[in-house]
Assembly symmetry: C2
Homo-oligomer: 274 residues x 2
Amino acid sequence: MTVEGLSINLATVRQQWDMRQAVEACLTQGIRAIAPWRDQVAKIGLDEAARIVAANDLKVTGLCRGGMFPAADAEGRAAAIDDNKRAIDEACALRADCLVLVVGGLPQGSRDIVHAREMVADGIAAILPHARAAGMPLAIEPLHPMYAADRACVNTLAQALDICDLLGEGVGVAVDVYHVWWDPDLARQIARAGASGRILAHHICDWLVPTKDLLLDRGMMGDGVIDLKGIRRMIEAAGFLGHQEVEIFSSENWWKRPGEEVLTTCIERFHTVC
Amino acid sequence: MTVEGLSINLATVRQQWDMRQAVEACLTQGIRAIAPWRDQVAKIGLDEAARIVAANDLKVTGLCRGGMFPAADAEGRAAAIDDNKRAIDEACALRADCLVLVVGGLPQGSRDIVHAREMVADGIAAILPHARAAGMPLAIEPLHPMYAADRACVNTLAQALDICDLLGEGVGVAVDVYHVWWDPDLARQIARAGASGRILAHHICDWLVPTKDLLLDRGMMGDGVIDLKGIRRMIEAAGFLGHQEVEIFSSENWWKRPGEEVLTTCIERFHTVC
């Protein structure tokens, strides 16, 4: 039996399995779509990762991740651009739907978030010709404002879409419910993203109450307070009918359970609460 | 010597001192403005707290806090409204500049943040006549989006100002840098708040990298990444020249140090980085 419409971001089982093992376990449970991270790909080698994708005809809903554009000096920014071009090539080799961009936060010692945001737009502009030539869409993922300093200074869909409008074709957004569920402007910005064909990915998990860690305490769908069905309705109404990709970082819970149990739970929750 | 323009929110030294002790220590260091919490007032009694304020001619930059409007049933919402009316009366007794509102998050079991936000607007509307009659301004404090579920579903200045526009006179905003520093729309919304005379308070602390706890790891001004001088310039340009109120919750650092050291550091940083 195939589980249609569900993708597993392999960070969800990164403590249990490498990419090869994770794919095998997904296929056993009927999951035919994944989103790997670059370190997981590197660990088994890009050629082998691409072979696994092709041999199993896997859907790759995204490669995580490019981005991290701001840097304290020109060398740092150039290095980030080079690395992003390599990430685009890797995404192509894996036949990914998009390269997910976590754009980066403040350079060490900086308090200038406006400048960091300029460096992000400049960085994406610099890699966009390479991405367009390769036919690889870039998905800006706005991250929750609690990551503004150290991970991503693009923190709302509105902000990500403004960058898309500025840069034109070849760039869109990844809508991760964890990052955007609180946004008072969410419905309007999802509609805006859909109207311009910019929705490239839909990531799911849940926001736990209480949340015990800023990074590694994401919840399984249904265990928190996010209106997952409501947000999915907005996204589908906006024209995106692609996969829902489960991305859970959970150092004290899901990363400690058997991977099979994690996948089984993802499938069950996908059918009942998403 | 008097430290002009600096106020100490007494949560900053809540583990060290009660209100009486905190006021004495503030006066010793030349600080003549404070913002107490209701539990601190209750502990020594409202009459005694009011006597301390009057006897020392203290500036009270705000009383923390009213709010917490959403509830699962009508009884809960009515109880919150009653409690907020008492808070208004207490703020009057303390001659506070405003009653700070932390509006509340999702009721237990709810995933409907849109409805929670409606309950907030309804709750403020319900207490506003009482506040107006008492001459006590209500300061909606938008809280960082990481508190949307459990503390405040008003998470941006834009959202708070929309509520102000809806409700008219007698309500404004408390601008706490910790909650709003990341907002891509910050400059525009501060200007908007100032243009309508809605800025009632300016709270300061800093955002640490890394932040180890969602609630109790706020930084001393200068120890984090917030552009405190830049935000102050925006606020003054918008017409608010009132006190900067230090509000630091810090279970593992500042709450463990001698209170005198905390105040000395606040004064030094206020002069150098704010």
